[in-house]
């Protein structure tokens, strides 16, 4: 690589980005390929510029550094990650416990140099260890034809477990996600209702309920949804939800 280590900087504050850029100009054999103002922008730019290293501020609007790092695991190649923060006792404790790289602001040149030298990609165990620090994710990240697509949680109508995947349905289209429905159910418990063994429906998208007869003549409740034509059959066990509505 002629340009050395490719670095992406993400921080919502201009002076903080300037400072990092200044410092990095004193570090040899690197190049800054992109600068982002929040986690979402960082992921978009990372998909384009394929950096080797992400320098992520923890506290950013729209998407914080921790969530961005989680989604960045789906990038190819998987970038190394160093977090930056001015002050965050909880995060620092977790970083220390799990050997996650981080830099304290104001950042010193020697520290930055040392961190870059030993930077590495996060291991799955480290990603798991960062989970408790995060608020619930604002997006699901979908890996599709070499790209990472971020689907805002608020856009999701329902999540349905298939054989190997979970189908993520928005008003526009469907995506395939490699996560367990049970895990999604716990993480987003206040947003989704489990209407069926294999289906979580966003309560905000439920338009109403309807009783229909199936082929055998048994009747079953269905949930009608806003913005999508299909309906979701409600399993017997969950019918009390209809009565509550």
């Amino acid at each position: 690589m002629a340009e050395g280590l490719k670095i992406l900087i993400a921080d919502d504050e201009t002076p903080a980005r300037n400072r990092l850029r200044d410092l990095l100009s004193d570090v040899g054999n690197i190049s800054i390929v992109a600068e982002a103002k929040n986690g979402k922008e960082a992921l978009d730019l990372a998909a384009e510029t394929k950096p080797d290293l992400l320098l992520l501020d923890i506290r950013m609007p729209l998407m914080d550094g921790l969530e961005a790092a989680t989604h960045a695991q789906k990038l190819e190649p998987k970038p190394h990650i160093i977090f930056t923060t001015a002050y965050d006792t909880y995060a620092i404790k977790a970083f220390d416990l799990n050997a996650v790289d981080y830099l304290l602001k104001p950042i010193r040149l020697e520290r930055l140099q040392a961190a870059i030298d030993k930077a590495h990609a996060l291991k799955p165990a480290q990603i798991l260890a960062l989970r408790p620090l995060q608020k619930t994710r604002g997006h699901l990240s979908i890996h599709e034809r070499g790209r990472v697509i971020l689907v805002p949680i608020g856009d999701i109508v329902y999540l349905r477990a298939e054989l190997k995947y979970v189908t993520v349905r928005t008003v526009e289209r469907e995506y395939l996600l490699e996560e367990s429905l049970t895990h999604l159910e716990t993480e987003f418990a206040e947003r989704f209702l489990r209407l069926h063994r294999n289906c979580l429906v966003a309560s905000a998208f439920i338009a109403g309920y309807e009783k229909r007869a199936d082929e055998t003549g048994d009747s079953q409740w269905h949930a009608l949804l806003k913005g999508v034509p299909e309906t979701i059959a409600i399993s017997r066990r969950q019918q009390h939800l209809v009565k509550q509505a």
């Binding site: 919502d12 504050e13 201009t14 002076p15 300037n18 400072r19 001015a86 002050y87 602001k105 608020k135």
Partner: protein, 330 residues
């Protein structure tokens, strides 16, 4: 200001409420002691009240009126004056009642006077203890500890921002450091005495200068303070921590930033202050916020007792803190 004990603030509603409560509880106790049977308590209390209530009312009225005069005296002189005043009032009331109404049970003015002196001493001793519990060493230390709670987040981010300016804009870096020095001087000072609100506003502007270095045009601030009396006295560092909260919870989580509105105006004999900021419930993590609010609430209580209050509300995507306190000047 508080090296020696002070007389209670007789212009304060809370103080008068406490006086009323103590005296009436004593009256009930007296009725219980004097009555031979349970049934006698109420009639006895009624009789006692007929004498006690006029005395309390007259006392509170005269104390309220005489407060400025009493305040000029030394502490022990003030105590002495209040004792004399109370004894005189009760002697007068009792002799008036026994002359013009036919109260059988009314004691002699001398006895009433002695009793009133004793009750007054109890009430004054209560206020003395209360003041000791609230103001000196312990409370003072707690106050200092509470005040020192500027966010490390702010400190380190600001230093980082100033560092970023040193190479490219040394002049701006200089003035930012000067603002920071002023801010920390106030934060580390002994902030016991009330200060003019204009001074606090100056401090707030310096604080916001530093913040806008980092946040640039994401931080917008509107001052609605044209009617503000600049000499009104407030406890120091009441507004700045609220602005810090507003920035941390209202501006930083928003990609486009937002507007903080500060409104200060007098109303009758009170000063109304409100600070509002944009608010998104999903960004809610209000632990630090609670700490600052609790601290300010406590300090308002220490300074003004029941005369001041603090309220918060979140609606229409804005979070608003409102403070009401007595309008005092030097």
């Amino acid at each position: 200001m508080r090296k020696n004990s002070r007389l209670p603030n007789l212009h304060n509603l809370g103080i008068h409420l406490r006086i009323l409560l103590i005296v009436n509880v004593l009256a009930v106790l007296a009725a219980m002691l004097l009555s031979k049977q349970l049934n006698d308590i109420l009639p006895l209390l009624a009789e006692l009240s007929a004498v006690v209530q006029p005395i309390i009312l007259m006392s509170m009225l005269s104390l309220y009126v005489l407060h400025p005069l009493l305040n000029k005296l030394k502490y022990w002189q003030g105590i002495f004056a209040i004792l004399l005043l109370e004894m005189a009032i009760s002697a007068l009331v009792v002799s008036f009642l026994s002359n013009y109404f036919s109260f059988d049970n009314v004691s002699s003015p001398y006895r009433a006077s002695a009793l009133a002196g004793a009750v007054t001493a109890i009430v004054l001793y209560y206020f003395y203890l209360q003041e000791r519990a609230y103001s000196p060493a312990i409370a003072e230390a707690r106050l200092q500890a509470l005040q020192a709670r500027i966010r490390p987040h702010f400190l380190f981010n600001s230093i980082n921002a100033v560092l970023s300016l040193i190479r490219s804009q040394p002049k701006r870096a200089e003035s930012a450091l000067e603002d920071m020095a002023d801010l920390f001087r106030v934060l580390m000072a002994e902030n016991r005495d009330l200060v003019p609100i204009s001074q606090e506003i100056g401090l707030c502007r310096q604080y916001l200068n530093i913040e806008s270095l980092r946040l640039e045009n994401r931080l917008k601030i509107t001052w609605q303070i044209d009617d503000m009396p600049p000499d009104a006295l407030i406890p120091p560092l009441i507004l700045q921590p609220l602005l810090e909260n507003a920035v941390y919870h209202g501006i930083e989580p928003m990609p486009e930033g937002g507007e903080i509105v500060v409104e200060i105006m007098p109303k009758n004999k009170e000063l109304l202050i409100s600070i509002s900021n944009p608010y998104a419930p999903e960004n809610d993590h209000h632990n630090g916020n609670k700490m600052a609010l609790k601290n300010i609430h406590e300090r308002l209580k220490l300074h003004f007792d029941l005369e001041a209050n603090l309220k918060t509300e979140a609606k229409n995507n804005r979070y608003k803190v409102s403070i009401r306190l007595p309008y005092e000047t030097d």
